[in-house]
Amino acid sequence: MKKLIISIVLVNFLAACASEPKKEPVADASAPVVKAEAPKTAPVTPAKAAVDALDDPSSILAKRSVYYPFDVSVVQDEDKPAVQAHAKYLSEHANRTVRLEGNCDERGSNEYNLGLGQRRADGVKKMLELGGAKASQLESVSYGEEKPRATGHDEASWSQNRRTDLNYAR
């Protein structure tokens, strides 16, 4: 968590130093001439050669977690576009693999939650496969309630823990 805060702060400093309008993603220094164009108001289409969409913090692919209501393992409507975008990305990048890690809140036994987390991860895996990813690119596991992001006995914590994470291998 601390590392994330530090990197966010650093990125903000970089952005401030560049004194460019904040809309555009931080491009890397070795980008081709395309970057020298005057700032436009329209969002920049991802330059395929320059920035991998997976590293683009404003891309839909930056969304790496899918959340669920209590005791539910079906991907919710609001998360479907992100999952479909990941499926498309995987279908276009055959060398990429991703680990789907299912998690639960604590309101069940440890073993039941292990099963529920697995069902959640498997659900995302299936949707990715239907969207064009290959089975060999996907692995689904469960952490049940064993690795909670938040540990309070309240919905604020529980809602954070009911999720599947998409963990891309680097």
Binding site: D71, R99, E106, R107, G108, S109, N110, E111, Y112, L114, G115, L116, G117, Q118, R119, D122, E139, S140, V141, S142, Y143, G144, E146, K147, H153
Partner: protein, 422 residues
């Protein structure tokens, strides 16, 4: 009045904890048995000279059971029957008296003790217990077991062990300890979770789930050699290991064929056969004492409930109904009932249900009470709970009257399981 007595007891226990080097569980007792047997235990002659007081172990065990009222022997210290004046003890209200002597020779400790009936003025037990010098606590537990059995009619569990997981931030440790928390043995410690410990019927092995490779894998580890083997490492989650009472097979839960389903295997993990085919989450199998049935948790009916099926195949029967969900079933040693965790309106309770009548009763007040397991004499149930914001272990007597809270020194204790008779 009751609260002052309890506070006094807690005070005594806390004092006792400070003076016991190596004690890692501090124990609070809540409640009392229906009729507490008043017994007086005179420290054995020679007890002050040995490294660990036997008296401390015996009185601690009997007090913790909640079934005895310890009568203070102050002013009197008989060690032999000839030194006993029964009226002294009658006037103190004791019904039973324990006296004895301890001798040390060649690295061995021998305790000779007698249990006397104060009212009938007869001897109930006259025994010698001996062991190596570093096994004094075991001597105390054995003596407490004999006293307990003679006075209550039930077998004592003071010489048994428990296993549990201790969690502190990212660190998980699988621990085996005496049932009073002493003699901790760390079976595994790591920065990835550990789950679901289970005892082999002979107490020599623990099976458990570890996430050290990145997903749930079932291991079996010898408590003597610490050697361990992988029992199941298929894709997805491998979990919930449990032995049949005859030790000849195991049940476990795999997701390799889709959702969590129950499989049988040989005790070495070979010859795996699938036995549930529900497509739901079927988990937490537990063998009946005769090895013929399995209790398990399933959400095939829409919510997690307890079901029973014959091990050899046949129809599955749902056992829990009504409001709420139910998890983690465990048979009683006599096979007549089972305990489980009952979740209703956001609270977890330890519950018990009789097979014959189907009647369910709640044994606890409700909170975060999970993972119940029976002591081998069927009189106590060990479970995970919470107090003072920490995960603790707790026991409740099978009639719900006596409860203990057991606090580890640091971290959260969870997923306890009671071991077999040694």
């Amino acid at each position: 009045m009751v609260r002052r007595i309890l506070q006094g007891v807690v005070g005594l226990l806390l004092l006792a904890q400070v003076s016991m080097a190596g004690a890692v569980l501090s124990i609070e007792i809540i409640g009392a048995g229906e009729h507490q047997i008043p017994v007086s235990i005179v420290p054995f002659g020679g007890d002050e000279e040995i490294a660990q007081s036997i008296n401390e172990v015996v009185t601690g065990d009997l007090r913790r059971s909640g079934l005895f009222r310890l009568v203070d022997p102050t002013g009197k210290s008989p060690h032999q029957p000839a030194e006993v004046s029964y009226p002294d003890w009658e006037v103190r209200g004791a019904e039973a008296l324990v006296i004895g002597m301890v001798a040390v020779q060649d690295g061995r400790i021998e305790a000779r003790f007698r249990l006397l009936d104060v009212v009938k003025q007869t001897e109930l037990i006259g025994q010698a217990v001996s062991a190596r010098e570093n096994q004094i606590r075991a001597i105390g537990h054995r003596i407490a077991d004999m006293i307990y059995e003679k006075l209550t009619g039930d077998q004592g569990v003071f010489s048994t062990r428990i296993a549990y997981v201790n969690r502190q931030e990212k660190k998980s440790s699988l621990i085996v300890a005496d049932s009073d928390g002493h003699n901790e043995q760390i079976v595994l410690t790591q920065n990835e979770p550990i789950m679901s410990p289970a005892w082999s019927p002979d107490g020599s092995q623990l099976a458990y789930v570890s996430f050290e490779t990145g997903h749930a894998v079932v291991y079996m580890q010898s408590l003597y050699s610490n050697r361990r083997v992988v029992l199941a490492n298929f894709r997805g989650s491998n979990s919930a290991p449990t032995w049949s009472p005859d030790g000849k097979q195991m049940a476990l839960v795999l997701t390799r064929d889709g959702s969590s389903q129950i499989y049988l295997s040989r005790p070495d993990g070979s010859d795996i056969r699938r036995i549930t085919f529900s497509g739901a989450i079927d988990t937490e199998p537990h063998f009946s004492p005769d090895g013929q049935y399995l209790l398990f948790t399933s959400d095939r009916g829409g919510s997690p409930q307890i079901y029973r099926m014959p091990v050899k195949g046949g129809s599955t029967e749902r056992l829990t109904f009504g409001e709420g969900s139910n998890f983690s079933p465990q048979h009683s040693p006599d096979g007549k009932s089972f305990v489980f965790a009952h979740l209703n309106k956001g609270r977890f309770y330890v519950a018990m249900q009789d097979f014959q009548t189907g009647q369910m009763s709640l044994l606890t007040e409700g909170g975060w009470e999970k993972n119940p397991s029976f002591a081998p004499n069927g009189k106590l149930i060990l479970f995970a709970s919470e107090a003072r914001g920490r995960g603790i272990l707790a026991t409740v007597s099978s009639d719900g009257r006596v409860m203990q809270h057991m606090f580890t020194q640091s971290g959260d204790a969870r997923e306890p399981v009671w071991g077999p008779y040694p």
